[in-house]
Symmetry: C2
């Protein structure tokens, strides 16, 4: 059976009962819940679940029902930019599924959610209806607070649903993409300018690596700063290269890397290949990983 | 079904037709052949295969038949110490199998091979009949050439088979152990003394890490030297710590690490945890690896 993963981000990272209800809705629909990662500072939670297209679709519809009933963006603030109560919903091909399967699933879910909730929906990445809508950042620019104006602007009518912002839930961005690694590097300093300069140096949009999105944030409660990143293709822009570059850029300002964080799940190959690089292993192949060899020989 | 892996080392690393026949014998017996790693310098090959206890037993008996018919240690020389044509045969618990299962399997195979071929067999590691026989190095000391004298020494009668060396096949060492990583670090120098000093520094027997066996070797054909290691417990003595220590010791002699090699298979966790260490990932757990999350949720 083809397996598809869905990794929605919702704009709630503090109320445990809301997150529990969302998790129950996902599981009740038959999907396998893989991970729940709440972030109180960002006031945002990443869910991850997987299953057949039908299971993942049912789980996603149930999640929208639950989240829209309990989240009101008019009362929401957090470090992370957001456009909707259910902010971003990417579908990712895992085992035996194609990108075309995920694009079809994203389109179906978008149509059904828009009809059910009167919610404007933008399709993004591989499911985008035009090149101008591929990038999440372009769609999200202006955030919830700027949505009413933006959605009325020529070229920014949603792909599904009304061309007016939902009063409490804003709009949602639904799409299909390759596996992504949510990767943050925390710096042993409170100098926000350093985090912003490093984000600027490594991200694609300002001249950095092709498959890196990055921003500099303050983690006020800890008195440190963070380079918050999405690595959108770990095969072509590997995690170790991004880490080493951030570390070197930080050193130029006399700043050390305190630690890094992997948010949610990470494909095994992204880490095993990083280990092989750090350990200078020559001629390493994924087939040398015992679990891969067992799977391939079955 | 419980899965057991077997990783025998045979004293043949050059004749392709012999290795092909051994591989065919293993597969013909129903085991899944995971890897074949010949080493011409060591004149030695590591096979890896897995399956149920019955499949792995049948494959191992077939391998002994094939290897003993085609390998004559009287004509064998190589860099690596060896006692027999089939030198070492460890059984390792993988999925759903216990160490006790592997000890039982090792004992059965040893009895049957000894009876069928008139071959002396020593049991080692977890299957050892006494503490003096736990360590492979102690059993193998003196090698094939010294076996006739050693086997007649009090305390060195084999666990199965005659107390006389097999004329062409010597003796074999059969046992059970935890997964082991065969890990070599090549140094950018031809100074054998440096490789030997570093091996001495990191191995348990001379004061180094608890779960490291190591020796310094010359790779004559490449004009470099190698610290050749077995890491016998990657959870307690992790690969990254060994690599960093070897690198630091080499630097003290003005020598660089050229590259490292993982021979055969490596458990995923040994590499993903190494990546997490190098990348300074805080709060990393094995459950964050996507493939583990999928397996655990099934």
């Amino acid at each position: 059976m083809a397996i598809i993963e869905c990794i929605p981000n919702i704009s709630e990272g503090r109320r445990r009962e809301v997150l529990d209800a969302c998790a129950a809705a996902i599981q009740g629909a038959g999907a396998r819940l893989l991970d729940v990662k709440p972030d109180a500072t960002h006031h945002r939670t990443v869910f991850s679940y997987a299953g057949s297209a039908a299971e993942v679709k049912a789980a996603t519809l149930a999640l929208f029902d639950q989240a829209l009933a309990t989240i009101d963006l008019r009362e929401h603030s957090g470090e992370h930019p957001r456009l909707g109560a259910v902010d971003v919903v990417p579908f990712v091909p895992i085992e035996g599924a194609t990108m075309a399967d995920c694009v079809a699933l994203a389109t179906e879910v978008a149509a059904e959610v828009a009809a059910r909730h009167g919610l404007p929906i933008y399709l993004y990445e591989e499911a985008a209806s035009s090149p101008a809508r591929r990038n999440l950042e372009d769609i999200r620019r202006g955030e919830f607070e700027g949505l009413a104006a933006k959605i009325a602007t020529p070229g920014w009518a949603p792909d599904f649903g009304p061309a007016t912002a939902h009063v409490s839930a804003g709009a949602s961005v639904v799409g299909a993409r390759m596996p992504l690694i949510a990767y943050n590097i925390n710096l042993a300093t409170d100098r926000l300018d350093v985090a912003k300069k490093i984000a600027n140096a490594v991200r694609h949009s300002s001249g950095g690596f092709r498959y890196v999105k990055a921003m500099g944030l303050a983690l006020e409660d800890r008195g440190i700063v963070q380079v918050s990143m999405n690595l959108t293709n770990y095969e072509k822009t590997p995690i170790f290269r991004v880490f080493e570059t951030v570390k070197r850029e930080a050193a130029r300002y006399g700043v050390s890397v305190l630690e890094s964080e992997i948010i949610g799940l990470v494909p095994s190959a992204a880490l095993t290949r990083s280990a092989a690089w750090f350990l200078q292993v020559s001629d390493f192949t994924d087939a040398q990983v015992l679990e891969n060899a067992l799977r391939n020989s079955q």
